[in-house]
């Protein structure tokens, strides 16, 4: 089973037992921090994502928004979602960087039935290995953020891999490198939390008293976090208020499956015991004669 083409330590593997050996190395968690208040909506990150990951361009059209595409796809792993809302009599432009959040408790991985198709690394990256993907799309149902996308031609699922090939070589993800306003930062999760708190202080001085850090507990925290200026408008940002990792998990069905397996075994055992107790009921004109 090919799990990775890189040197990162593995933390969890889909449909497999928990990691084989404890890590000897220290593996600091990394994270991206998206400061929505600094985003100017230029979409350079979308372009950088396409360029680095060799994703083909998709034709789009004007549907009355500054948004480039209507939705994520197997070839569009990053989409800046634009939403105009009225707040206290003013128009506000809410922008959300829509891409995989790399959950600490990945709902996609827990839902995946194929060994090795989804791998979580010690540094927090959750990556899809398409060579092991069977195309069932359980991960799509298991993701609380609606991120993975199915490609009908390859019959595999794709999403942002946090530029794992860059990160492994000590580089920042492509979207981070290209951002002209430094709205996206990258570093250890600890540093990003520190930075996020600094940004919150600045925002509250500017009057954004509802601002918050989006790092939801229901999925154990994420490795892409947001500084959200209008923290009371999460729904308008398309950010779920209480995302949960376990809703589609194999283990959420686990108890039933365990009971089911025992019932199946008990059924086989019962027929065997029944046969030993009473034997066959043979008609007297069948081979073997009367019972």
């Amino acid at each position: 089973m090919k799990q990775s083409e890189n040197s990162l330590s593995v933390k969890r593997v889909s449909a497999s037992a928990e990691p084989m050996a404890p890590g000897i190395r220290q593996n600091p968690e990394i994270a991206k921090l998206v400061d929505i208040s600094r985003c100017i909506g230029c979409k350079a990150c979308e372009v950088a994502c396409k360029a680095w990951n060799d994703l083909k361009a998709e034709e789009t059209f004007n549907f009355g928004s500054y948004q480039s595409h209507q939705d994520l796809s197997a070839d569009t792993w990053l989409l800046m979602r634009f939403n105009e809302i009225e707040l206290n009599g003013d128009i506000h432009w809410l922008i959300k960087k829509d891409a995989c959040l790399h959950c600490e408790e990945p709902g996609c991985l827990y839902a995946c039935p194929s060994p090795g198709a989804i791998v979580q690394y010690e540094n927090g990256i959750v990556d899809f290995n398409q060579e092991n993907c069977i195309g069932c799309q359980y991960c799509v149902a298991g993701c609380p953020f609606n991120i993975p996308r199915f490609n009908k031609e390859t019959r595999k699922v794709y999403k942002c891999n946090l530029c794992i090939d860059r990160v492994e070589s000590g580089l920042e993800p492509a979207c981070v490198k290209t951002c002209p306003t430094q709205a996206i930062s990258y570093g250890t999760k600890e540093d990003m939390h520190f930075l996020a708190n600094e940004k919150l202080k600045v925002l509250s001085e500017r009057g954004y008293d509802k601002a918050l850090i989006y790092d939801p507990e229901g999925v154990g925290g994420t490795h892409m976090m947001y500084v959200v200026p209008h923290g009371d408008q999460l729904a308008a940002y398309h950010l779920p208020e209480h995302p949960e990792a376990m809703r589609g998990a194999m283990s959420a069905l686990g108890l039933f499956k365990q009971i089911g397996a025992y019932m199946f075994g008990a059924g086989l055992l019962a027929t065997a015991l029944h046969f030993l107790a009473v034997g066959p009921d043979r008609p007297d004109d069948e081979q073997g004669g009367s019972r």
Partner: protein, 208 residues
């Protein structure tokens, strides 16, 4: 005793029975692989994970279509009668081969009739819950994750029920009651078999 045979199943009935039976086994093995990571190796039987994922829903449609034929071919014999209730009360005697205390049955007994109805209902549940699981994005519209997870749960429960009934069905049809399996292969059973298991039907067929 001289072996004479009675016609029990038509050619069409036998074909439908085996289409349903073999497609169910295929579905059971691939479905188990999707449900239990420790049984994922079962996908190797059909050529690997992606093949199993591709075959499972197609086999599901074959199975469902077979069930529809099965329903119309057998339903007229499957209505529950008063004798069936008495038969069900004597289930203990039936299970210990104590035929003297089991009310005589016609072409099918209450056990067979309930197996028929249970499989029809479970088959319908499997089909209805299976369609969204086959294509989570049907006609460009996505089903919600919570809905799909509920479908998976119901799909699993129905499959479990079908699997449990299958154990009993196969056990009784093979080792427990010799002479039964051949009836589903060449369509004929021996007169002795008919007298033992379905005495009223045997009387009706032989006119004695």
């Amino acid at each position: 005793m001289k072996r004479t045979e009675l016609q029990r199943f038509t050619y069409a009935q036998r074909v439908v029975h085996w289409v349903v039976g073999l497609s169910f086994l295929l579905l059971l093995f691939t479905g188990l692989a999707f449900s239990y990571p420790s049984l994922f190796w079962l996908t190797a039987l059909v050529g690997g994970g992606p093949a199993a994922r591709a075959i499972h829903p197609v086999a599901g449609f074959v199975f469902s279509a077979g069930l529809v034929f099965m329903f119309f071919m057998w339903v007229k014999d499957m209505f529950i009668s008063k004798t069936d209730i008495e038969w069900a009360k004597a289930i203990k005697a039936y299970a210990s081969h104590d035929r003297a205390n089991v009310p005589p049955t016609g072409k099918y007994n209450a056990g067979q009739k309930s197996f028929f109805w249970v499989q029809i209902v479970l088959g319908a549940v499997l089909l209805l819950t299976g369609i969204p699981l086959w294509a989570p994005a049907w006609g460009g519209k996505d089903f919600s994750g919570d809905f799909l997870n509920l479908m998976r749960f119901l799909h699993y429960l129905a499959a479990l029920g079908g699997g449990l009934f299958l154990i009993i069905h196969v056990y009784l049809g093979t080792v427990a009651y010799p002479g039964t399996l051949i009836g589903m292969i060449n369509g004929r059973v021996s007169q002795g078999w008919a007298k033992l298991h379905h005495p009223l039907w045997a009387k009706e067929k032989t006119g004695s």
